[in-house]
Symmetry: D2
Subunit: 187 residues, 4 copies
Amino acid sequence: MFPDSVFITKDNIPGPTKEEIRCLVICKSQVSKNDVVVDVGAGTGGLTLEFAKRARLVYAVDKNIEALHLIEKNLNKHDLSEKVNLINKNALKALRDIENIDILMIGGSGGDLSSIIEKGHKKLKKKGRIIITSILLETPIEAIEKLKSLKMEIEVINVSISKGNISKRGTMMLANNPITIITAKND
Amino acid sequence: MFPDSVFITKDNIPGPTKEEIRCLVICKSQVSKNDVVVDVGAGTGGLTLEFAKRARLVYAVDKNIEALHLIEKNLNKHDLSEKVNLINKNALKALRDIENIDILMIGGSGGDLSSIIEKGHKKLKKKGRIIITSILLETPIEAIEKLKSLKMEIEVINVSISKGNISKRGTMMLANNPITIITAKND
Amino acid sequence: MFPDSVFITKDNIPGPTKEEIRCLVICKSQVSKNDVVVDVGAGTGGLTLEFAKRARLVYAVDKNIEALHLIEKNLNKHDLSEKVNLINKNALKALRDIENIDILMIGGSGGDLSSIIEKGHKKLKKKGRIIITSILLETPIEAIEKLKSLKMEIEVINVSISKGNISKRGTMMLANNPITIITAKND
Amino acid sequence: MFPDSVFITKDNIPGPTKEEIRCLVICKSQVSKNDVVVDVGAGTGGLTLEFAKRARLVYAVDKNIEALHLIEKNLNKHDLSEKVNLINKNALKALRDIENIDILMIGGSGGDLSSIIEKGHKKLKKKGRIIITSILLETPIEAIEKLKSLKMEIEVINVSISKGNISKRGTMMLANNPITIITAKND
């Protein structure tokens, strides 16, 4: 994984997703080198870069043009821009033009979660996966309901990680906010 | 419990202990109205005030005179100063002059944890309790070792609490740092 | 708080609510000695007993008659039966006959959460509080939505507690399942 | 990652390490295909198999011969036995005969943690890593102290994961025990 500290960030752009969450998302996604990934709500590009290192092609989708500029900087910094298509549209529009998705990653949905899942599911390959991360209580419920209706196999985990700050006084444990990760596969 | 927001705070003084942790400490302490409490490393006075509301007498001990001034302000704000003796000494010196302790609360030990427990234990009444809270990984281990050697009955819990920030977007869960609470009684 | 181990339990009856969660519920409820409490989905009676120790009157409501028998045993064991009315109805029916509630505690709702909140809210005194505990992801969302529509002031916390098992090998931390506690007051 | 359910287990053998913890260990280890890994306290072989899939050679060390038989079964089941040397010795003895270690993984130390770290550190390649996982409070402290004395760069994380059990009633979150993961590199 890239350490959190290597990413160029911007105050008004969310992310990057913390290293440990990126790690778990990558594991759950079972990404492999021929995969096509769509990263919706790509933000700072934390997950975009991780997928770009491991997949064939990543579509990084964000309706905020500033986010895409930031992702571009991060891709260039790590020589990964060739693997990534930057798309400055909302997710539903972006998904119209993409086919044969192996992994649909949804880190932000702008209130359209159910529709994005539904539309994305139609573009998903037979063994495709959908992954949703959220810091909100409401998102997992909306996701589970929609994924159930699509008869996908669903896994939900909630992850709380604290990190030690080692000093002379001792090791102070500082909490990251809890994140829910939902993984769905066609059954 | 007092809400976190009612305390007067100061940048360089730790605390107040978060409401939920104060609540758990008060429950674990089994404080009752005739109790004498010693609050070591009293900081902002969060626990001092909670004990003052419920006990007969609280000694608030802090080697930092600024902490004691801050506690005094918080006590005055809630009309609890009559119940509290403020002691501007390190804990070991303060304990010399106190007898018949029902509850020894250690929120900060300045590196003297084992000695404070040992000395405090001698001043503890037969059914007395010692409670230690810590954000450090090392403190619980040092406490458990010493409390074991004193043949006390020990309980250790680690508490992770996240709090919802409710907005139009949804309920964002924000983590507090994990706290370990150690409670010991004479067996 | 009563230690978890003092409760008489039965395999098919949920509870008792763990000591630390009972502690936090009691703090959040701000129960005092003149309060009337309704405990919906009372189960083993863990919270019923805690409220009975501190309030004027508790209605313990459970649609399962076995639960009520179990609660009765636990009340008798701790000499608290005089403070508690046992009601073997579903919550909506039980609430019809109760007025002037200070605290409505909902630990189980049998699928009627929104209606119970709505009905209970009508019977709530001006400064009344509603508290909901849940191990399910869905319950907090349903509760928050309904409580918002009633213009109540809402607090949501998620609590993860692990408990140390102290042996010669060391202190093994064993996790309790995470519980969400929602507290609402009239604004 | 292998799902938890694919491992053959035995009542008296610890493990397998849960999928999410294996995932985080693999990320933190930065294992690559030319690496030599030593897995001390290999237990059921959960981490052994993950490393075997990704490294050149894994030494699985366990003083319990039954554990090694179990690991062998798991390796055979997934066609990974060629990558693994099974060593039925205590860790200190096993480390005598191994050189040029890229990754030293310590999942169990039988009370010899400091010595294993010290000895393993001598056999570590220049860019080698040591990873320690523990469910005990004491282990991280002992590890941090020793790793500090070796001037290694240390990271400590504590991981609490709960997993959703989706049923008609809703999504019940069930907690796994919290695990501490310590990662150290030569500075």
